[in-house]
Symmetry: C2
Subunit: 496 residues, 2 copies
């Protein structure tokens, strides 16, 4: 597939000078228009050594207005990065809507290098590519425009480029021992790159191979292509935003008995006070000890609490924390997103707060808002929440593969019990602030929420991150059950 | 000074149980009111080992609604933290306006521990405390409420607490070898702590010493004190926001010749084209080589460009970057702050983007906006920009002390030259977008800006971070001069 980029494309200096000012003007106008758009643009500049990836980035930095542009590079991982899933660094480096991110090096760099250097097998490369496709699809589905350039040089051209650079004192330093090693690996690199490009050139994010022998041709081609792709996308926005007709909403079965995961729970479960006190102390003690070990061994856990209003999330949190060292946990309550968060994919705000190794993070509500309140209230369009099942499963897979212990609890109460608790809250001074008209409004949509919860549990209960349904009509029973599960799972993870 | 906290304060269980629900209700109501306030609250919980710092944090986490609360702890520095000034981690951990940050460990922890362990001298401790005071003053001046608790135990009480914890299997793990070492160092620790508290107990951020022998007394005291301080501040807000009468605006001398740093520049300086080309290539080459060395040695630089509209900041940036590896620099153009940024001190957004070691960061406009556009346009109140001189000097001191090479350029052009360039821009297709009515409006305020610039240069040109004034009526001259200075200063820093 690289043959198309070995044809000897060239642009004369005079032609370049005639065309460059117009291109530059258009790129600046484009950027002005983009600022108002509700999507980000990612420009990846990859390719063989010596093809001028850095020069292209420098040229783009000079053509564009740097105010709405940001270049990202990924060096050796910092320890903060190593303590989180690999994709954390990429999520950190996403441009907000209306802006352009330039990538010199990207999520492709490590897998390609690792395969060339035999650090990973063909099967592992494949797995990496699947991951890349899922990542890019997540972004594209959300509206991002991803433009991927591969700058190509033939083996001879690469050799010549290096020799020329070595002769020039000003550029000699750029030719490192590593580059020479890479030149020797040219054939292998080409095979791995070809395989990678073929398997990640999707309809939504295709690769553009650019012949890089002639720098004028290379730069003009890159600039011109960005201009065309972004312009097309700007003119085409409504289409990308329209609902996708092949997606159908998920509805509960309409015939037969109402069978659902929530319906199957035994809501009469309870725990007498004396047993509760004993078991609470027992599991708090266990958890404290396990959390301490986890901290030493840098094993993180995420405890995620979802449930009906007044199901007892706050009370459960207050029972978890006495067991813990105040230095080792944080509680994240999910409120309305900030404007920076709104300018990114909805998962971005959760990636942002992935803790460093060894911590316990307790979420009071979570990314599942997409599948619950956003679905039921219509804040997310149907195709947005429909694809969120897969996005969330993928997200959680990355977390758990990294070794994070992920516990997802649904605290379930009956509709009657909720009413009782609302009324009780209205009588209790320090609980009154918790109860608002919204709570009663949400209650009216109980059935719609129930369908959403059932769908959520069915579609996001995975082997690596199952839902734990907690019968919570009796608070004592619920608290002990959740603490016990947390303790067991953390213990298992530490035994591994 | 710790004697007041060795009097044997105690609260009976029945009294505690009678008072706690009301305190809790009030804390929740307080938090509700705080959400609307335009200031953050910082609660530091410090003190001797075994005094229950973590328990207090856990209790506050249980009393408050965790949604508007965040606990911060500072462990061993990550490499990302080590590559930046020490205060970066503290600036990262500031709550936004309307929220409460709880600190278990803080900017006090390292200096106190280092002095006790003789890692630093008395003089160095003093220096650290001065720094702490400057940091807290910066936050308080901006409206933050800082509440600092010191939990105290007498030597005997500390010993008893440890013995009791060791006897209980559930808490035994909490008593580490380190704690035992600390017990031995009790007297020394007490002396250092007393000195620290005395010298950082300012009117704006006083220390509160709490006797911690009785946990009920300790917790109730802390909760009650937070309630009182935040309530008082909420009722008192207008006063804190009022202009401070002892501050006087800085004005240019009104008699005699108009003498100013800008007025003294020789604006006729220029560089012929052939010399320009030669020198540009020379300094670009030097810079490229130096930036490469700096990257290897993790020496960062910050190049900050300020200047009149159309003074040539963009053109200079385009002349700097061809020398650089695209992986080693980033350009940050300062646009309007996001809502997260607006909810913090104005310097927060700049701390946020301090680069990791070895990078070049180019600022197109900077934190000096506070002293220029915000002053002239009245976006900042007088006392805000008046205190910004000291805040910025302090900020830059922390940067340069960490080894960051900080270059501040003011690109100066005359009023006539600016008009000529505006008109030229209007004729050039790819420059038209740059020229707006705002530019002409700003031009009308030339004199006010000139006063602001003169004040800025005089008051923020420090030994560690001097201003470099660039005569920029001739672009060639300006570019070469700036590149030469950058190259020289970076070279000097690498020679050290």
């Amino acid at each position: 597939m690289f043959e198309v980029a070995e044809l000897g494309h060239k642009i004369k200096k005079s032609d370049y000078e005639a065309r460059e000012p117009e291109l530059r003007t258009n790129l600046l106008l484009l950027q002005e228009a983009l600022k108002e758009a509700k999507f980000p643009v990612l420009v990846l500049v990859s390719g063989v050594d010596g093809a001028g990836k850095g020069d292209v980035i420098n040229q783009l930095n000079a053509w564009f207005d740097p105010r709405w542009l940001r270049a990202y590079a990924f060096g050796v991982m910092s320890d903060e990065e190593r303590e989180r899933p690999e994709y954390w660094r990429f999520w950190r480096a996403l441009p907000p809507a209306g802006q352009i991110g330039l990538y010199v090096g990207s999520w492709y760099s490590r897998p390609i290098a690792d395969r060339v250097n035999k650090v990973i097998s063909d099967a592992e490369l494949e797995r990496n590519l699947t991951r890349i496709n899922a990542f890019e699809e997540t972004l594209v589905d959300d509206g991002a425009l991803i433009i991927k350039f591969w700058l190509h040089l033939s083996k001879d051209a690469q050799k010549q480029r290096m020799t020329a650079m070595e002769k020039n004192p000003a550029t000699r330093w750029r030719v490192t021992a590593l580059d020479k090693k890479h030149l020797k690996q040219y054939d292998k690199f080409r095979r791995v790159a070809e395989h990678t490009l073929r398997n990640t050139s999707t309809g939504d994010a295709p690769w553009i191979i650019v012949e890089a022998t002639d720098t004028r041709y290379r730069n003009l081609t890159v600039g011109q292509h960005i201009l065309e792709r972004v312009s097309a996308r700007l003119q085409n926005q409504p289409e990308a935003q329209a609902p996708q007709p092949h997606l159908k909403p998920i509805v509960a079965p309409e015939v037969g008995d109402k069978v659902s995961v929530l319906g199957n729970l035994d809501m009469s479960r309870h725990l007498p006070k004396d047993k509760y006190k004993r078991q609470l102390a027992k599991y708090q003690g266990e958890l404290g000890e396990l959390a301490r070990q986890a901290r030493e061994r840098k094993v993180s856990s995420i405890v995620m609490l979802e449930g009906w209003d007044a199901a007892g999330k706050g009370g459960l949190i207050r029972r978890i924390i006495p067991a813990m060292d105040a230095r080792s946990y944080q509680i994240i309550s999910v409120a309305a997103p900030s404007d920076e968060e709104r300018a990114h994919h909805y998962l971005w705000r959760f990636w942002r707060h992935i803790p460093r190794g060894g911590n316990v993070t307790i979420y009071d509500r979570s990314w599942y808002g997409r599948l619950l309140v956003e679905r039921v209230e219509g804040y997310a369009r149907q195709e947005e929440w429909m694809r969120a099942y897969a996005e969330i499963n993928h997200f959680e897979e990355l977390l758990t593969e990294h070794g994070i212990v992920l516990l997802k609890f649904w605290l379930h109460i009956t509709k009657d019990e909720q009413l009782r608790r609302f009324q009780e809250r209205e009588q209790t001074p320090f609980k009154q602030y918790k109860i608002t008209e919204d709570d009663y409004r949400n209650r009216e949509k109980w059935d719609a929420y129930e369908i959403a919860v059932n769908d959520m549990v069915e579609r996001t209960s995975t082997e690596y991150a199952p839902w734990h349904l907690i019968e919570a009509n009796d608070k004592n029973y619920a608290r002990v059950k959740a603490l016990r599960i947390f303790s067991e799972k953390l213990g298992l993870a530490l035994d591994r």
